[in-house]
């Protein structure tokens, strides 16, 4: 049985090791707003921030060209950094790019690699905790949205999503619906209905 928990709420009388919890002699307590599955002992964040890991794909905007490096705004507590010497082309401030995380440096900086410029379109930002649901198991959710709208969509695990072409408005609404209802079941079907209704 799933239940919604808040910071400080007891998950178990026992001390168990789960991410985003704290244990003391009285038991194990949540540190976040989350959806907790008592049988599987899994705590899924409902709100939350992106924890950068190696090989994460991100979407961001070039904020500044510092000559030997670029500063990338990732809409996150972390600033993206890219060394110009690894690039075969130049970037300019305002470019939307996607890139891969090389590593998280000390002091809240994320070193990025392999940028690709995303031409045109727009970006939206969603709660990073909802990105896995927006992608779906085996990409099912996002494939359904791209197929249903004809939009090209690039998802950054930092919660920034780029959309271009096709029915961008419909794709945006579908993604925002998944964000809002991520913790419910039957969502894939509801999104399918939403996409087919609008097309008809």
């Amino acid at each position: 049985m799933q239940k919604i928990v808040v910071p400080g709420e007891k998950l178990s009388d026992a001390q168990i090791r789960i991410e985003n919890t704290i244990s003391d002699s009285k038991g194990t307590f949540s540190c976040i707003m989350g959806s907790y599955d008592d049988e599987k002992k899994v705590l899924v964040p409902l709100e939350g921030l992106w924890n950068p890991k190696r090989d994460d794909q991100v979407v961001g905007v070039v904020e500044e060209d510092k000559g030997n490096m670029y500063i990338i705004n990732l809409n996150a507590p972390y600033k993206g950094l890219m060394l110009s010497k690894f690039l075969e082309f130049e970037l300019k401030a305002g470019d939307i790019i996607t890139a891969i995380v090389k590593e998280l440096e000390k002091g809240g900086t994320v070193m990025l690699l392999r940028p690709r410029v995303l031409e045109g379109g727009k970006i939206i930002s969603v709660k990073p905790s909802k990105i896995p649901r927006i992608i779906g198991k085996g990409n099912t959710m996002i494939k359904q949205i791209t197929d249903g709208t004809g939009s090209s969509i690039t998802i950054g695990l930092n919660g920034v999503i780029w959309l271009n072409g096709g029915n961008v408005d419909l794709a945006t609404s579908a993604i925002l619906k998944v964000e809002e209802e991520a913790h419910t079941s039957g969502l894939t079907e509801r999104i399918r209905d939403m996409l087919t209704e609008k097309v008809l």
Binding site: G8, C31, P77, K79, K106, G107, G108, K127, S185
Partner: protein, 246 residues
């Protein structure tokens, strides 16, 4: 403190607004009222109307304030110039609001997992739109909800309330008029998980016994305040769950 035209604040065990000595004013909390903020909450606590909002974590600026080991919290508590039934107030920080901002920040430095965001800052704003006594406690209670809603990890969700004394009686949750004529005021913030105090201020005149009584009232009311905080956070999700689980 103890003015000359003191009204009769307690009569036959009831206060001016009809409350018993250990009774809270009605409290209502709404989550997500400021769209731009990462987390926000609006609290109505009696006649207090307060908005709390959170931005960040983001790179701490200017750079020299950065802590390479953990995030820092910046807090601003302020009162709107129209927040009182009396004269138009002055805008901008004063000594009182600067002190409240500092002790509020220290409450949250205890529970927010700052080590998860080295070099970052978390901004916490508390805007009192209407004040009627106990605004710092109500502001801290709302700020805890705003932080939880932001997803910033915290080891607990604190609440805050004050107790004090009018005449011979120890009372909980003083409103403005009670505060104006009280013999003591003691705002406290508690971490429910540990039972520890995160804020403690007091001025006036209380015996050790009276402080113990006040503390018992505060801890007892905490269950109610915590319940309202949790419900405000959960209701938005549970509503959506309910809609589709039928």
């Amino acid at each position: 403190m103890g003015g000359s035209n003191k009204p009769e604040l307690i009569k036959d065990g009831k206060r001016l607004d009809g409350r018993s000595p250990d009774q809270l004013r009605p409290i209502k909390i709404e989550v997500g009222v400021i769209k731009n903020a990462v987390g926000s909450a609006y609290i109505e606590w009696g006649n207090n109307k307060i908005i709390a909002g959170v931005y960040g974590p983001k790179e701490a600026l200017p750079k020299h304030i950065q802590d390479p080991e953990k995030a820092i919290i910046k807090c601003r508590y302020s009162m709107a110039p129209f927040s009182s039934l009396e004269e138009h107030g002055r805008t901008g920080p004063n000594r009182r609001s600067t002190e409240i901002s500092k002790v509020t920040k220290e409450v949250f430095e205890n529970v927010v997992q700052l080590e998860k965001f080295p070099g970052a800052e978390i901004d916490l704003y508390i805007e009192v739109l209407q004040g009627d006594g106990g605004t710092r406690a109500a502001g801290i209670t709302a700020a805890a909800v705003a932080l939880a809603a932001s997803g910033i990890p915290m080891t607990d969700m604190p609440y805050s309330v004050s107790a004090g004394k009018v005449g011979d009686a120890v009372i909980l949750d003083l409103n403005k008029i009670e505060d104006n004529f009280s013999d003591a005021d003691m705002p406290v913030a508690i971490s429910p998980r540990t039972g520890e105090m995160l804020l403690l201020q007091m001025d006036g005149n209380l015996t050790k016994q009276e402080i113990n009584t006040a503390m018992q009232m505060i801890l007892k009311s905490g269950a109610e305040i915590s319940r309202i905080q949790k419900e405000a956070l959960k209701s938005q999700y549970e509503k959506i769950l309910e809609k589709y689980n039928k």
